[in-house]
């Protein structure tokens, strides 16, 4: 059975959603407290949404210094599958494990709504089960979700096919409508939308399954 670690920072609040989604997909998921220093034995690691360390200073700025982030960095270096959702994405950019940064939304409002996403790269551990151009309805729930990077970084994202998801209609001012990116290798992925909240048509959408099923299937060092 695939074993997934869900990292819990003080202030995380989507860890149960992530754990529930993993269980629904047949994975053996468990919480990992932010003071943990090793992630051996996990087939994948999720950094869930929330407000790690209160989002003080900047979202993710203090969480990147949690002890577990050293372990996440070395896990990622070894090719392990790492997924950052919402605040988890912000933590991964602050930690330098993903390029760019997340800024305050263009309209300066907190956005909580379903969005239509368009799948870009399908070589990442999150989008490997999807088809390029496929549309997925997945909710967003953030204040600082505008993806930002310089021209050079944007060019390399395009050249290396690292843009995994784009908004069909840009809700927050993200550069190039970017909703999610991966690292060059494709084993570290971050996205602002919440696929773990789109697991059942009864609750609005089951499109998150397309993404998370791919993540659960991705073995360590898949690429």
């Amino acid at each position: 059975m695939t074993r997934i670690g869900v990292v819990v920072f003080p202030g995380s609040n989507c860890e149960y959603d992530a754990l529930g989604a993993m269980s629904l997909l047949g994975a053996d998921a468990e919480f990992v407290w932010h003071s943990a220093t090793d992630l051996d034995g996990f087939d994948g690691v999720i950094l869930p949404g929330g407000f790690a360390h209160g989002d003080y200073l900047r979202p993710g700025a203090l969480a990147r210094f949690s002890p577990v982030m050293e372990a996440v960095a070395s896990y990622a270096r070894d090719g392990g599958a790492v997924l950052g959702i919402c605040n988890g994405f912000q933590v991964l950019t602050e930690a330098g494990l993903l390029p760019g940064a997340l800024q305050k939304n263009r309209g300066l409002t907190f956005l909580c709504q379903p969005t239509t996403l368009v799948v870009g790269s399908t070589t990442s551990v999150l989008t490997r089960g999807a088809v390029r151009g496929q549309e997925l309805v997945i909710p967003i729930n953030h204040f600082s979700g505008a993806y930002t990077c310089d021209d050079e970084t944007w060019s390399s994202l395009v050249d290396n096919d690292q843009i995994v998801l784009r908004y069909k209609e840009n809700p927050n001012g993200s550069r190039d409508d970017i909703a999610g990116v991966s690292n060059v290798e494709g084993n570290v992925v971050g996205l602002m939308p919440h696929p773990e909240r789109a697991m059942s048509t009864l609750l609005g959408s089951a499109d998150g399954r397309v993404l998370l099923e791919g993540f659960v299937r991705a073995p360590v060092g898949a690429r």
Partner: protein, 84 residues
């Protein structure tokens, strides 16, 4: 000796500043005319125990780079707090 230091963090040139833009748009309604190029930022004040002022400023710059700012979108400058 303790040196009083202020670190200013602002968004880099070319990075969109929705907060500054919103403030700028609100000013005419309050009767303030001719105010342009408003940029929002953060300011941190601290005491740093160091040999001299330049050493204190060097420490402030280092911690500003490492923690107080995100160099991807922000720049930081350290200065002495003249008011102590």
């Amino acid at each position: 000796m303790d040196y009083p230091i202020i670190v200013d963090v602002t968004l880099r040139e070319g990075i969109a500043d929705p907060e500054g833009a919103t403030i700028e748009r609100a000013l005419p309604a309050l009767g303030f005319r001719g105010v342009t190029h408003v940029r929002a930022g953060k300011s941190f004040r601290m005491n740093i125990d160091a040999e001299n002022e330049s050493a204190a400023l060097a420490t402030a710059s280092a911690l500003a780079e490492r923690l107080l700012s995100n160099p991807v979108i922000e720049s930081a400058t350290a200065r002495s707090d003249e008011k102590g």
